[in-house]
């Protein structure tokens, strides 16, 4: 059988394609490496989910090799298994979108024109996108409606234009401490933004509303309120999903992909033929699959005759910080508000999305504020050390843990700024090391441009001032060059020039007629927000183009 479309990877990048095309009557198959879990399977089992990572592959079976480049050019090689350094995020139907927290931000118009607006930066491959914000805006709106984004539009100096005046779903319930935050922002003349969330506040779209389970990020959603790709899209379309299907190679002739090969759990190989192939296995794995798919027409890997596949890998730069609120400084009423579980602390600042320093214009970023994760084990483990950094034990430790957990709470912040693309940050394939399937593993070459740290630190300083104004203690931040494995993009950047990009502006490979890539690998620069809203929106945009192409063919 020949399918109209074969989608590889069922996460945020692949699912809009499957949803739109199968609902339009095309014959779509989705190949997904992981299992299918439903709402009934998802529980808040901290040991299984957060301590034993049941949703990601075992590193002894599947790993990455990581080569880290220091600022002085020194390279250090890490075996992911040996160092427990995992770049897996969620192997299951719906991908890592099942486990996301759903903090959603759109890119801003200037994110599409980074080079024109802010200029070139030495050592970085900054470029403009081949599309504009206006091209993506209708699809951001579509995601709000179809996937479900809740929030409240807050006007501020860097607010992006919208085609609708409000979000289709009202804001989620908030913890009262957000009012302390809003007051602090008022004093500091900042615009407190109610963070949009891919979470339904009440039943809609055939899904339940949020139950404020207190354990959102890293956990699957048992109500269906979270706008993950499975609940929001795959469950609502007719695409055929083949689970536990690890795609290891694509075949092609000179101009078209002809078939995809996958292994099932017993290592039996199967083949799928389709007219169009859409790859969305998350940035690193999509690049690896292309690089591993060599043939007489593509000696360096599929769509890689210009040696661009894997190049310009990016992450979200920035880091985290926190402050602690102690009962001693609060009234009994305030203590009660502080400790209220479940309801969200949805606040963000974008006052420094762009800023000036010594007469120079800088691209800044976003700061999200949220209570620290409710997982109890890491919160207790953090208390093991005394003020001199010595490990403690015995009764003194017991008391310290009890006091800290029951009479204080930590408010954290996350800084998101651009990870500048460069020649030193890219995906390759190891010549020797193979995974349990006998397929060569991906090599992640890491390099973080010093500019990213500078910007991140500027943002963190501002966030700390807000925590100070709120009356928090023990304020600290950690801006680092270490990449967040769950916020990864690039590697198959789109652009108008086939010599410097893998995909054209519709995310079709320049070198092949029927190969598309719709996870975050298309992004030449990442913007200063988490990516998922943009991944969904772009995938809906590509689906629209594909529909036009397929319909034309049908006629």
């Amino acid at each position: 059988m020949i399918y109209d479309v074969c989608v590889i990877g069922s996460g945020a990048g692949g699912s809009p394609i499957a949803y739109e095309l199968s609902n339009a009557g095309f014959n779509v198959v989705v190949l997904e490496k992981g299992k299918e879990y439903t709402e009934a399977d998802f529980t808040k089992d901290e040991l299984a989910v957060s301590r034993r990572d049941i949703y990601t592959p075992l590193l002894k079976d599947e790993k990455h090799i990581i080569i880290d480049r220091a600022e002085d050019g020194t390279l250090t090689r890490y075996d992911g298994e040996e160092y427990s350094w995992s770049f897996w995020n969620g192997s299951m139907v719906g991908g890592s979108s099942n486990l996301m927290s759903g903090y959603f931000h759109r890119l801003k118009p200037n994110d599409f024109r980074l080079k024109s607006v802010y200029g070139a930066i030495e050592g970085a491959n900054v470029v403009d996108w081949p599309i504009r914000y206006e091209d993506l805006e209708p699809y951001y709106t579509k995601v709000e409606e179809v996937v479900g984004v809740s929030g409240k539009v807050t006007p501020h100096k860097f607010a992006e234009p919208r085609s609708t005046s409000e979000f289709p779903y009202t804001s989620l319930e908030e913890n009262g401490v957000t009012q302390w935050f809003d007051k602090a922002c008022e004093h500091l003349k900042l615009s407190s933004i109610a963070t949009p969330r891919a979470v339904l506040p009440s039943a809609a779209l055939g899904r339940n509303g949020c139950s404020y389970s207190n354990f959102c990020g890293s956990y699957g959603c048992a109500t269906g309120a979270k706008g993950n790709a499975r609940a929001a899209l795959l469950k609502r379309c007719k695409a055929k999903i083949i689970t536990e299907a690890f795609v290891y190679k694509l075949d092609s002739d000179a101009s078209k992909v002809t078939q995809a090969h996958y292994y099932d759990t017993t290592l039996n190989s199967h083949t799928i033929k389709a007219r169009i192939f859409v790859l969305a296995a998350q940035a690193i794995e999509s690049c690896r699959l292309l690089l591993n798919s060599k043939n007489e027409h593509f000696a360096n890997g599929m769509a890689n005759n210009n040696n661009q596949v894997g190049k310009n890998l990016i992450f979200s730069a920035g880091g985290t910080g926190q402050g602690r609120f102690h009962f001693e400084k609060l009234t009994p009423q305030q203590q009660k508000i502080l400790m209220e579980p479940g309801v969200f602390f949805n606040r963000s600042l974008q006052d420094w999305y762009e800023y000036e320093h010594e007469g120079k214009r800088y691209k800044g970023g976003t700061i999200d504020f949220l209570f620290e994760h409710a997982n109890i084990i890491p919160r207790v483990m953090r208390e093991l050390y005394d003020e001199n950094g010595r490990i403690m034990w015995g009764e003194a430790l017991q008391q310290k843990i009890h006091k800290s957990i029951t009479t204080s709470r930590v408010l954290t912040f996350e800084v998101f700024n651009d990870w500048l693309p460069s020649d030193h940050c890219y995906v390759g394939v190891d010549e020797k090391v193979q995974d349990k399937y006998g397929v060569n593993v991906g090599v992640i070459h890491l390099y973080s441009h010093p500019h990213d740290l500078k910007v991140g630190k500027t943002l963190a300083q501002q966030a700390r001032k807000v925590l100070e104004m709120m009356g928090a203690d023990e304020i600290r931040s950690n801006i680092s060059a270490s990449p967040p494995p769950n916020l990864v993009a690039g590697g198959c950047r789109f652009g108008n020039d086939a010599k410097t990009s893998v995909l054209d502006k519709n995310c079709k490979a320049h070198e092949l007629e029927n190969l598309y890539v719709t996870d975050a690998s298309f992004m030449p620069t990442g913007g200063s927000v988490p990516y998922t809203w943009s991944i969904y929106a772009n995938s809906f945009r590509v689906a629209h183009k594909l529909l036009q192409t397929l319909r034309k063919r049908r006629v």
Binding site: F42, K44, D45, E46, L58, I377, V380, G394, L397, T406
Partner: protein, 167 residues
């Protein structure tokens, strides 16, 4: 509930067995790993009426079970086993007895001494990690008896809670 079904392991698993310890280069003999762990957990967490004890939350059997799990790396398993051996060797160097045979004050001195080294600190950190997993994980795993760990810290677990043990 996997603790019950895997009881047999306590007799033959590597944590259930013994480690050979040496003192000044000479073989001292075999030391029971489970006994060392039990005493060590009590020493590390303390035994007060304010909080559950490691024994009450079945931290010892949990450690034995989890160190059999495919999702705990071989490296980690070996590290715990070696740690038990090193701890006993330090006890022998300092007081000529195995860790469990020492008086409370002597064990305290051994802990002070081992945590001065990197391995010792990492070892104690790892023992705490599994101890708090037993105290604060879901009781479906035969641990955190009567939710006593959660009650101690007034912790609200996330909902829905697991209906079956998946580890």
């Amino acid at each position: 509930m996997f603790l019950q079904s895997r009881r047999h392991f306590f007799q033959k698993g590597f944590v259930g067995g013994a480690v050979l310890v040496f003192c000044s280069g000479r073989l001292f003999g075999a030391v029971s790993t489970m006994q060392t762990i039990q005493v060590l957990q009590e020493d590390l967490f303390g035994n007060t009426t304010n909080a559950p004890t490691p024994q009450e939350v079945r931290a010892q059997s949990y450690l034995a079970m989890i160190l059999q799990h495919s999702r705990v790396s071989q490296k980690q398993k070996e590290f715990i086993r070696n740690g038990i051996q090193w701890l006993n060797e330090e006890a022998l160097e300092m007081f000529h007895k195995s860790y469990v045979a020492l008086a409370k004050q002597q064990r305290e001195a051994v802990l002070q001494s081992v945590t001065d080294s990197r391995w010792g600190e990492s070892f104690v950190h790892a023992i705490f990690a599994y101890l708090f997993e037993a105290m604060l994980g879901d009781p479906i795993y035969g641990i955190n008896t009567d939710e006593s760990g959660w009650k101690w810290l007034q912790h609200h677990p996330g909902l829905p809670r697991p209906k079956k043990a998946v580890l």
